[in-house]
């Protein structure tokens, strides 16, 4: 095992092979999971677009009941949280424990804003009498955003574990792979929202 102070240089060397091609960031198993997960979501996007084709007027009428400003806010929250987590990964490679902890804490705090906005949005819809059973559009809206929210909650848990590990674990190769893998999962939560938001909120019928 390398001493922490040697981690940054060693990691910089490790991320490039002799052929000049960069090695994978994080654990390969996480990439298999990410690939399977985003493929599953692609299938859900296909189902949504097929149903939208069959009932364009209903989907347009229902879509207008959503608030795009909240969607934009949630996008900015997740993007900023992702950036802070990417900075934590960068700091871990440099063996900067305090910076890792600071960026992870900030990333989680900013990320928590997504939960606040989403819970407000669900509460607003449900208190207006709009539920999963209202129509096909809202079945997709609650199912897709609910599944995404589940991914978000798991991501927050994973980041919390990273934060706990950053207190006691050595800033070594093992920790770097751990935080890189966690970061990649968190970025996947971000990119799924980047697609879900325009698809649900902004597909304006001409």
């Amino acid at each position: 095992m390398r001493p922490p102070e040697a981690t940054a240089d060693a990691r910089a060397e490790d991320t490039h092979s002799l052929t000049g091609q960069r090695k994978l960031v994080g654990d390969e198993g996480v990439w298999f999971f990410i690939s399977a997960d985003i493929s599953m979501f692609a299938l859900f996007f296909l189902l949504f677009m097929v149903e939208r084709y069959k009932a364009a007027a209903l989907f347009e009428q229902s879509r207008r009941l959503l608030d795009p400003a909240l969607g934009v806010l949630n996008t900015l929250i997740l993007l900023s949280s992702s950036w802070l987590v990417a900075l934590a990964v960068h700091s871990a490679r440099a063996g900067q424990r305090e910076a890792v902890r600071r960026y992870l804490t900030l990333g989680m705090l900013v990320g928590a804003g997504f939960a606040v906005t989403k819970i407000y949005e669900y509460w607003h819809k449900i208190s207006s009498g709009i539920t999963l059973l209202t129509n096909d559009f809202f079945m997709f809206y609650f199912a897709l955003t609910g599944l995404h929210f589940l991914h978000f909650a798991v991501g927050m848990g994973v980041l919390a574990v990273c934060l706990a590990k950053s207190r006691s674990d050595a800033m070594d190769e093992h920790f770097v792979v751990w935080i890189e893998s966690s970061g990649c999962y968190w970025h996947m939560v971000d990119l799924l929202w980047i697609v879900l938001f325009p698809m649900l909120y902004l597909l304006h019928a001409a």
């Binding site: 960069r22 960031v25 996007f45 993007l79 900023s80 990417a86 697609v195 304006h204």
Partner: protein
Amino acid sequence: MSALFALPITRAWLALVIATLMVFALVENDAPARLATVAIVLIASFKVRLVFLYFMELASGAMPWRLVAEIWMGAVTLLIVGAYLITPA
């Protein structure tokens, strides 16, 4: 602070925030609906690519995962734009 802004991940984040604000401007300004909607989906596709390449660090290789990411992004964009355009208004 300047070192922070020199990082590719920070420049990517700034580009992502600007792209998101552009989407908000398109929504708020009542741009022609069909054109604006296609633009919004293409901007989303650009944002997904930035996340894959810079936050998930696939920019300089890491095959076959880079290929998986590019194919996924292309397929999802084509699906949403294609289905949107063929759906009767």
